[in-house]
């Protein structure tokens, strides 16, 4: 993945936590709104970086993406929320310690095709389903 404009997750989680307001308490609405809504994020898997270009003919890598972000009330239209997720979000507001918020997860996934050599230099072209996130949603 390429470096982003947003907060640093990963190793600097600690620092990122300090910069922004104290760790959001679950159910605390205004802090959780600072965190982004459920969205698709860029993630590129490079076969070249894995040193595989001698046996994988194509592609050089693929944009896999990932889903991340809050599924907080109100779940608006573009968050691909299921009816159940909408109800769960409401219940979470009432009983935050018992019922979690819905998860931000892929709602549509695409296949990729990979062209590669086997040990005997035969060539294989194969399709692999559910490899690329096309859209995210609250579930």
């Amino acid at each position: 993945a390429t470096g982003g404009k947003k907060k640093n997750h990963g190793r600097n989680k600690g620092k990122a936590q300090q910069k922004s307001s104290p760790a959001p308490k679950s159910g605390d609405q205004n802090t959780s709104e600072q965190r982004q809504a459920c969205k698709k994020h860029e993630l590129y898997v490079s076969f070249r970086d894995l040193g595989w270009q001698d046996w994988i003919i194509a592609p050089e890598g693929y944009a896999a993406f990932y889903c991340d972000g809050e599924c907080s009330f109100p779940l608006n239209a573009h968050m691909n929320a299921t009816n159940h997720a909408i109800v769960q979000t409401l219940v979470h507001l009432m009983f935050p310690d018992n019922v979690p918020k819905p998860c931000c997860a892929p709602t549509k996934l695409n296949a990729i095709s990979v062209l590669y050599f086997d040990d005997s230099s035969n060539v294989i072209l194969k399709k692999y389903r559910n490899m690329v996130v096309r859209s995210c949603g609250c579930h």
Binding site: A1, T2, G3, G4, K5, K6, K7, N8, H9, G10, R11, N12, Q36, K39, K40, H41, E42, L43, V45, D49, L50, G51, W52, D54, W55, I57, A58, P59, F65, Y66, D68, N110, A111, S113, V114, L115, Y116, F117, D118, D119, S120, S121, N122, V123, I124, L125, K126, K127, Y128, M131, R134
Partner: protein, 280 residues
């Protein structure tokens, strides 16, 4: 596309991270280990070039299909009821064109048609090339062998082709039509010609050059189910009045010819069962 830059810090993978990701992706690809193909400069050989062409045809299809759905705003069931897979290329008569003159061997619409019913395609290198110029019936032929045992379990052949390149024949064969016939070797004998079964044949003008494509679907399926009966193929060339011609005069490219014109077998498969990834 409405995605945002992720908040990862971009850095080189550490060795153990790289190994972890490699192992995970290899298991997704259904491979027990990382393949180590031998022959260097293999990428410019005929089979990889042909397969790369199929790959490009397919990925463009996939992008068009996604774009089409996005624009149409609703999932469209394809008119011809093609199962979920690669969308159908413009219709071409099913009959194999006698000669495709491109070199390297570009996949034709006829080939991408095969993709509709396939979720895997494999090309196989020729393992042996034996010319038998003197046989009891003064019949010239060349033998080819392919190892189909590398095919993953649970795959059924939906179509298979044997592809071999023919160059222009020498001038003395001008205005002559040659008949190219491919046989499946059924049984071999130490001191006489093998027992064979005729698969496919084509008539080509001696002065024409290009890729000959023979349909060997039934034979490939037979070899898949009975690997021990895989004794290879034989190619014979004759004039229309039945005179046998040796491979060189017929313009057939052999092992010493360019890599981009080497013969190969390509097979299209449909998984007959779902591949379950073992839990790690």
């Amino acid at each position: 596309d409405n995605h945002v830059h992720s908040s990862f810090i971009y850095r080189r993978l550490r060795n153990h991270e790289r190994r972890e990701i490699q192992r995970e992706i290899l298991s997704i690809l259904g491979l027990p280990h990382r393949p180590r193909p031998f022959s260097p400069g293999k990428q410019a050989s005929s089979a990889p070039l042909f397969m790369l062409d199929l790959y490009n045809a397919m990925t463009t299809d996939e992008e068009d299909a996604i774009l089409g759905k996005a624009l149409a705003g609703k999932a469209r069931k394809s008119a011809s009821g093609v199962p979920h897979g690669y969308s159908r290329a413009p219709q071409q008569p099913y009959r194999a064109a006698p000669l495709t003159s491109q070199s390297p061997p570009l996949a034709t619409a006829h080939d991408t048609n095969f993709l509709n019913d396939a979720d895997m395609v494999m090309s196989f290198v020729n393992l042996v090339e034996r010319d038998k110029d003197f046989s009891h019936h003064r019949r010239h032929y060349r033998e080819f062998r392919f190892d189909l045992t590398q095919i993953p379990e649970g795959e059924a052949v939906t179509a298979a082709e044997f592809r071999i390149y023919k160059d222009q024949s020498p001038v003395r064969y001008e205005n002559i039509t040659l008949k190219f016939t491919i046989y499946q070797v059924i049984k071999e004998y130490p001191n006489r010609d093998a027992e064979t079964f005729l698969l496919d044949s084509k008539k080509i003008r001696a002065t024409d050059g290009g890729w000959l494509v023979f349909d060997i679907t039934a034979t490939s399926n037979h070899w898949l189910l009975n690997p021990q009966q895989n004794m290879g193929l034989q190619l014979c060339v004759e004039t229309t009045d039945g005179r046998s011609i040796n491979m060189k005069s017929a313009g057939i490219i052999g092992r010493n010819g360019p890599q981009s014109k080497q013969p190969f077998l390509v097979a299209f498969f449909k998984a007959s069962e779902v591949l379950l990834r073992s839990v790690r």
